[in-house]
Structure formats: C-alpha cells, structure tokens
C-alpha cells in the first residue's frame, strides 16, 4: 500500500465527527484530571480505559491518547498555581512557574506552558510519524531471540531509571515478572501459581492490576493523611504570555522538544527526566541563567517542552515494536489488546488504516490541546475547588465498576484491591510501580520469546546472541547496567 493509500485509509477511519469528538473529550478529561493534584495522567488514562470497551478501536485509542496528552499538560497548572505537580512530569515546571505565580504572573507562566506544550507535542507527533514506520519495517527482521534481547533491554532500562535506585527498580520488575507467571503455562498448559482457582488460570487481569497499582494507592494515601492535599491556589494575575516571550524562548522549546523526542523513544525513561534535562540545558545555555529558579519564563518553556516532547515519541516503540515506552503507553497497549489489536511491526501491515488514523488524530490533537488548554487555564479555580475527600471515594467507585466491566467478574475487583495494597506498600517503601507494571505486561512476551528461541535451537542458548541485532541489544543492556551502577556508586561515595 502506498503512502497516499495509507493516508486515505486513515482519513476514512477518522474522518468523522465521532472520532474527533472522542479526541476532544479525551483532551478535556486529561487536562482536568492532570490539573487535580493526586489524579495523575496515568490514573486518568487507567480510569478512562473501561469506558472505551464499547467503542470502535480507533475512537477508543484516540480518547485515551487525548487523556494522555491533556493529562501531561494539565499537570503544569497546579504545578504553577499551587506548587504541587499534577503529574510527576510537571515537577520541573514548579522551579520557575511557581515563583512567577508568586509575583502575580501565573497567567503568563501558564500561557507559556501551553504554547511550549503544544509546540513540543507537534514536534513529537512529527517524529512519531517519521520514525515509527521506519522502525517497524526494520523490526520485521526480528525473530524470537531479537525480541527477547529487546525486551530484556527495555526492562533493564525501565528498572534502572524509573526510580531512585537500580536495585529497587529491579526488585519491582522481578515482582512484575513473577506475577505474570500466574496462569496456565504457555507451552504445556499446566497450572502455575493458580492455587487451584479457575479465575487465575488465564492469569491476573491486566486492567485490575494496573488500576490497583496506580489508582487505589492514592485512595489509601488519602486514608493515611486526609489533609495532605490542601494547598493555597495563586491568582492568575493580569500579565499574559506575549509573542515576544514565545519568540525569546523558542530555541529552548525546540531543544526541549528534541530532548523529549529522543528520551521518549527510549523505553522506560518517561517525561520527568526529559523535563529536568531540558530545563538544565536551557539554564546552561540561556542569557538569563541567573534568573532560573527565581521565575524565568524560559525555564517554564523548557521544562514543559521537555515533558510534552515525550508524549508522541513514547508511541514510537509502542507502535513499531510493541514495547511500551512508559506506564501510560503500557495502559494504552492494554487498550489495543482489549480491542483485539497487537501493536508491533505487523500492525503496520495488517492495520495500516488504524496507524494512519492515529497519526492524523495526533496531529489534530495539538490544535485541540491549544483550545482546551486556553479554557482550562481560566477554569482551573473550579477544578481546584473539587473537594478531594469526595472525589477519591468517587474514584474508588469508578475503579470498582471499571474493573468489573472488563470480564464481568467480581474476582477481578478483589485482585484490584490486593494490588492496591501492594502498590501502597511499594509507594511507602520507595519502590517504583512503573517497572512492576511494564514487567507484568512484557513478562509473558519475554518468556514466550525465550522458550521459542530454545525450541528453535534445541535448547542451545547461543541463539540468543545469533546476530548483529541481538548483539546490539545485549550491548545496550550491559552499557545501561554499567552506567546506572556507576552513577549509583558515585552517589554513594562522594568525590572528595
């Protein structure tokens, strides 16, 4: 199929009011959820997922992508106005955004956050469109050993960079891999850790695990400290972001977008490190470097460009390789599966209309984000006033309905509750949840590819090193482990 044919197929799929309406609703929901401290973009995407079961695949994915993109931008609103990041990715925005709000320039900071976010989002979408197809065609050469090496590399980097410690990240990933072994064996069909319960033979429900890990711990945290969320909201002020502000920060925005695209396309790194790297690069090269941290608008632009530049790029490994780049794309991969789609190189052949439909939707999403974001900035006060002690019980009820709806099974609700407590214990012990969830998703793939490789080679492990592609991923894995271990040791033994 030629490019024009693919584009036409994509247009045919999304060229209707319903698809764009879903995208718009998704962005609105995402911005609102991102703007409420404690309701992260991840939680918003997870809670929206059950509402997509009755939709067509393209509408469902567009809705979730809208929530994702809206959530990342929405997180900057409370970061600037109440010094509480709505999502972890907005932490860097606080550094200059909140000082600006304190001196009455919140409107200007939020305006810049919006323009930088939309620009970075557009750059990121462009990167996705340019590179995903190319990477997918390359990945068609992958066999089980190559996929095994790729997934192992992805898990290594996710475990290493998701939290503060490689060891705690690795522990989290191993727990996720172990949980994924529950169910019937992939080759022989024998029981593994099912405890004789037929509900566990198909493995634990992915949506129950993810909602349990990412939504329930927030509710449990509220029980632990019901007043932790209370903060003082700053007024918008009269100053607005001008064209001159945007022009002066443009270099930092583009640099931040590129950093976001680069880091976002590597599985596991995510938006927060990208925002901080973009911010530190902008501070290093800026004429106003002394003002950074005191309310410099270029700092807001850089951090927002860094975190939004990731949004489209994380879809590159998802669509091209079937490997989620971060937790949110891990949830989106679940949505693909719920709708009978398997992301990966074959999707570019079998479902090219959906791929191009998504590309078109993503381009439009940057424009919609500008519209929704402009309104959201003014309406934040209403969002901030939603009493969290009523909101959180509502989230709990939504979780119960949503998880039940997946399989019409009360057992899944129990799994969600148990995983919620597991997630809370992990949170209290500073164990990152992202490696757990991604390992839970990739675990069966990792094992399946390993065992297929062994079957192909008659149990000769040398097949796992059979060619340049596997060597490349093994090399990256060792470099990642070496680099993370070295940086950990350096932190432990400060240079004198």
């Amino acid at each position: 199929m030629s490019l024009m044919d693919s584009l036409a197929a994509g247009f045919a799929l999304v060229g209707n009011i319903e698809a764009f309406l879903m995208l718009f609703i998704g962005l609105t929901v995402g911005v609102i959820a991102g703007a409420i401290p404690g309701l992260s973009a991840t939680m918003a995407v997870a809670l929206t997922l059950p509402f997509t079961f009755a939709m067509t695949p393209i509408n469902a994915i567009l809705l979730l992508l809208g929530v994702y993109k809206g959530g990342i931008f929405g997180g900057s609103i409370p970061a600037i106005l109440i010094k509480t990041p709505g999502t972890p990715a907005s932490s860097a925005t606080i550094l200059d955004g909140h000082p600006m709000a304190e001196r009455g320039e919140a409107g200007r900071a939020l305006g810049m956050a919006l323009y930088a976010s939309c620009t970075a989002d557009a750059v990121s979408n462009l990167a996705l469109i340019l590179f995903a197809g190319w990477l997918a065609s390359f990945a068609l050469n992958f066999g089980p050993p190559e996929f095994f090496a790729l997934i192992l590399f992805s898990l290594t980097i996710i475990a290493g960079v998701s939290g503060e410690s490689l060891l705690r990240g690795a522990l989290s990933a191993l727990a996720g891999l172990l949980l994924a072994t529950i169910g019937l064996d992939l080759v022989y069909g024998t029981n593994r850790f099912t405890l004789g319960n037929p509900n566990m033979m198909g493995g634990l429900n992915f949506i129950a695990v993810l909602i349990g890990l990412f939504a329930i711990p927030e509710i449990i945290s509220m029980a632990w400290n019901p007043v932790a969320h209370l903060g003082k909201t700053r007024a918008l002020g009269k100053s607005r972001c001008t064209w001159a502000d945007y022009k002066n920060s443009f270099k930092s925005i583009i640099r931040g977008s590129m950093i976001g695209v680069f880091l976002g396309s590597i599985p596991g790194i995510g938006a927060a490190p990208s925002a901080f790297l973009s911010y530190s690069e902008a501070r290093r090269t800026s004429k106003n470097k002394d003002n950074f941290g005191k309310g410099e608008i270029e700092g807001v632009a850089a951090s927002e460009a860094g975190n939004n530049g990731v949004a489209g790029a994380t879809l590159i490994p998802l669509l091209a390789l079937g490997v989620p780049g971060d937790v949110i794309t891990a949830i989106i991969i679940g949505a693909f599966m719920v709708h009978g789609l398997q992301p990966g190189p074959m999707m570019f052949i079998l479902n090219v209309d959906i791929i191009y439909g998504l590309f078109i939707g993503l381009i439009v999403s940057s424009v919609f984000l500008l519209l929704v974001g402009s309104v959201a900035i003014r309406g934040f006060r209403f969002v901030a006033d939603v009493p969290k002690r009523i909101l959180m019980p509502g989230v709990l009820i939504l979780c119960i309905y949503g998880v039940f709806a997946v399989n019409n099974n009360i057992f899944d609700v129990g799994v969600m509750f148990v995983m919620g407590w597991v997630g809370y214990i992990m949170m209290r012990n500073r164990i990152p949840a992202a490696p757990f969830l991604i390992a839970f998703i990739l675990g069966p793939l990792l094992e399946d590819n390993f065992r297929q490789s062994m079957l192909m080679s008659g149990s000769d492990p040398s097949i796992l090193f059979r060619g340049p592609i596997t060597w490349f991923f093994w090399f990256l894995t060792f470099v990642t482990v070496f680099a993370i271990t070295r940086s950990t040791l350096r932190k432990k033994v400060p240079l004198s």
Binding site: L195, P387, R389, P393, F404
Partner: protein, 165 residues
C-alpha cells in the same frame, strides 16, 4: 527512614521471598508434565530463574545496606506525617470497607454496595461537605450503572434484594 535501613529491610524480605519460592511455592504450585526431559523448556524453569534473580537482588540490597557508610534520612521524606494511631485505624477501616465491598457485591448488587462504600469512604476521609458526599454517593453509582449497563452492555450484578431496570 534512611536508604540504609530501607535496603536492609527490602533485602531481607526479597531474600526470604526467594527462598520461599525456591523451596516451597515453585515445587508446590507449579506443575510440570513428567515427560519434559529438558529443564530449560519446563514450566518450572522461568519461575526458578526469576526466584534466582530475586535472591541476587535481595543480596545486592543487603550488601548495599551493610556497606553504606551514611545513614541519613531521605531528603524528601514526608514531614507533615500524621501522628498517633488514627492513620492506622483509618487504613484498617479502608481495608474493612474493601472486604465488605467484596462480600456485598454478590449479595446487595454493585449499585447499593457502591453507594454504601462511597458514603463510608467520604466519612472516613473526614469530608467537610457531608450533604454533598451523600448526594454524590447516590448519584455517582447510579450514573455509572446507567452507562455500564445500558450503554456498554455490561451485566452489572443486581444483588438479591432490590433490582434496577
């Protein structure tokens, strides 16, 4: 809490869990056909590999804790920590609500159980808007029921007492 004490605790738990897997859980709960000659292809192989790595990580955490010279608390440790036994009691109460939800779902149905759970949670979280909480406790489960039962076509449990259209 410091990194040293955290890693010590996690290291002990991970090591014990790995031993539990190797000596009890995998032999008892993972079944392998008797005709599988090659251990690499056995259903038990992958769990054993993961248990081995868990042990290695556990030992790594212990080594890190033992060799760590400093014992300083984490910089971003929660400072406004609620004191006393009240937080623990609220956690226990939330756990009890979750257990009651599991019991109530087949008995009362999802809508009524959700209403009770919503109200119980709102009061557990000491809401400053009790009337609004009660109104939401009735409306939110009904709206979700309407969506999931009549739009998404999900067979929401109705319970044994009052059935909804």
């Amino acid at each position: 809490m410091s990194q040293k004490s955290l890693h010590l605790r996690l290291g002990i738990v991970a090591s014990l869990f790995a031993l539990f897997l190797v000596f009890y859980a995998i032999p008892t709960y993972v079944f392998s056909p008797s005709n599988v000659g090659n251990i690499i292809l056995s259903p038990k192989f992958w769990p054993y590999v993961l248990a081995g790595f868990t042990a290695i990580i556990g030992l790594g955490l212990l080594f890190n804790a033992v060799t760590s010279a400093t014992d300083t608390p984490f910089e971003d440790e929660e400072t406004g920590h609620p004191e006393g036994s009240a937080p623990w009691m609220r956690l226990g109460a939330l756990g009890a609500i979750m257990v009651l939800v599991m019991v109530g779902l087949p008995l009362l149905g999802m809508v009524w159980t959700a209403m009770l759970a919503f109200a119980a949670c709102a009061f557990l979280f000491r809401t400053r808007h009790p009337v609004a909480a009660l109104v939401c406790a009735v409306i939110v489960p009904l709206l979700l029921y309407a969506f999931f039962a009549h739009v998404a076509g999900v067979a929401i449990p109705q319970g044994e007492f009052v059935r909804l259209p």
